[in-house]
């Protein structure tokens, strides 16, 4: 199963490679890094644009325990939300909205888009806890559940404009924000709050896929 997943991942990346953006005014090619996986194509190595969040160097771990850098999402339209798994009110609504957005996408875009949940609950949302969350919510392979360090999580929150603060009960008060990144990792749309705005977000994702 793992091999199949790996193969699919790799073939997706291959499929993305031909239409990688190549605007010479904004990007310059640098030498490719050695591959980390047997069949991996080179990760796109052109410099990131000035507004790309992928310039951030913070490191995350996915729910399979693999080290993950946001730059790996380059080339895909991204729906990104910061949350915590034990959140009883806002976060389930945010995840439900992300699922609704996913359902509304044209299949071609849905096949490329990445749905990313980054937790600010460093203590409890370990990779195994996030794996359990994935299981419970039936989140497919196009969902990424990320655990970070205090450094990488706070930096990402600062980049997105997300405020969060631990509360006495072990929870967090936090901004409710769904962010759309284009293929270069630039913020092109944010939905603030918990209601509505899904169609606008879907439209932004369609645009994100083109940019």
């Amino acid at each position: 199963m793992k091999t199949v997943a790996l193969f699919l991942l790799c073939s997706t990346a291959f499929a993305l490679a031909p239409d990688a953006p190549a605007d010479p005014s904004r990007r310059q090619t640098v030498t490719a890094k050695p591959d980390t996986c047997c069949c991996a194509p080179p990760i796109p190595t052109a410099a990131y644009s000035a507004k790309s969040l992928y310039q951030a160097e913070g490191s995350f771990t996915d729910d399979a325990g693999r080290v993950f850098r946001l730059g790996e999402l380059r080339g895909r339209p991204v729906v990104l939300t910061m949350f915590f798994a034990s959140c009883g009110y806002a976060c389930p609504l945010l995840v439900a909205d992300m699922q609704a957005i996913r359902a509304k996408l044209p299949p071609a875009i849905r096949g490329r888009a990445a749905f990313v949940l980054v937790s600010f609950d460093l203590a409890r949302d370990t990779p195994p806890a996030l794996a359990a969350y994935r299981e419970q919510h039936g989140l497919g392979r196009d969902w990424m559940l990320l655990h970070g360090t205090d450094d990488s999580v706070r930096e990402l929150a600062a980049l997105l404009g997300v405020s969060y603060k631990p509360e006495t009960g072990g929870g967090f008060s936090h901004s409710n924000l769904i962010t759309i990144l284009n293929r270069e990792g630039e913020i092109i749309h944010q939905r603030a709050g918990l209601r509505g705005g899904l169609d606008e977000t879907v439209a932004a994702l369609t645009l994100a896929n083109r940019e």
Partner: protein
């Protein structure tokens, strides 16, 4: 004897140069111990704890200076004014400096560096082997008086603090070490520049009604004191308002930073 003088002088010049280079190659602020204590947040919702325990930590005795920051941008070209990514610093980043590697007359070497973003302050701290203090740590340190650990009733400190708040931002800042040290030997927590904290973005904007996020003087409004723990602490309101209105790429003419470190031994850090 006389023929040796030039050599001696050369030696001295070389020594002076070497020490200048040394100053320019590292972060030079000394750390002081802030003993463990309790931070009582000024503004809090019903969900927030009234008292937050803070472990002992080390804090720079003064804000980071232009000389320190020059060393940092010299060693890290991507943080120079002309090269910095707009993602990490807005257009007024280090604009008061004469050039990329030249602070110039508006930014004396020994004065605190200002017009730096949170991203830049954090990158500096990482480079220096330190980190930014948290809000709780900063506020705990800043609660000290000149001659006692709890400055709430230190009349001299209050007088200096409010005199500072009443003064406009100077065109050129005084030396970072020019202010009177407090009980812990820390200088300039009040009276020089505002300072970034690592978790500035814990400040919820819900208590803040101002839509205008323009920085500097027009954000310092002390309104919204309902639910505050100490309604006389006007300066703390201003700090809370400032933090709530900042974005991480913002830079302002009166906002600098200082670094902190855990009290754990150095070799605990990889």
């Amino acid at each position: 004897m006389s023929f040796r003088m030039p050599i001696v002088r050369c030696g001295l010049t070389a020594l002076a140069l070497a020490s200048a280079v040394k100053v320019l190659a590292e972060d030079t602020a000394a750390l002081r111990l802030i003993p463990a204590g309790t931070y009582e947040p000024l503004l809090r919702s019903s969900q927030d704890p009234a008292r937050i325990p803070v472990a002992a930590f080390l804090l720079d005795e003064r804000p980071v200076t232009n000389a320190d920051f020059l060393a940092f941008v010299t060693a890290n070209p991507k943080w120079r004014r002309s090269l910095v990514s707009r993602l990490f610093a807005d257009t007024s980043y280090l604009q008061h400096w004469s050039a990329d590697l030249e602070p110039g007359p508006a930014a004396p070497l020994r004065a605190p560096v200002v017009q730096v973003s949170w991203f830049a302050a954090r990158a500096y701290a990482r480079w220096a082997g330190k980190r930014l203090p948290t809000t709780a740590e900063w506020e705990l340190a800043a609660a000290a008086g000149y001659d006692r650990p709890d400055g709430r009733n230190d009349a001299a400190l209050k007088r200096d603090l409010y005199a500072w708040l009443a003064r406009p931002v100077p065109a050129v800042f005084a030396d970072a070490t020019s202010l009177r040290p407090d009980f812990h030997g820390i200088r300039g927590l009040h009276g020089l520049v505002w300072e970034w904290v690592d978790d500035f973005n814990t400040a919820m904007v819900t208590g803040e009604s101002r839509a205008d996020t323009t920085l500097d003087r027009n954000l310092f409004c002390g309104a919204g004191s309902a639910g505050a723990s100490d309604t006389t602490d006007y300066a703390a309101f201003m700090r809370a308002a400032l933090r709530a209105s900042l974005k991480a790429d913002n830079t302002t003419t009166s906002l600098g930073f200082r670094c902190a470190r855990d009290t754990a031994p150095l070799n605990a850090f990889p």
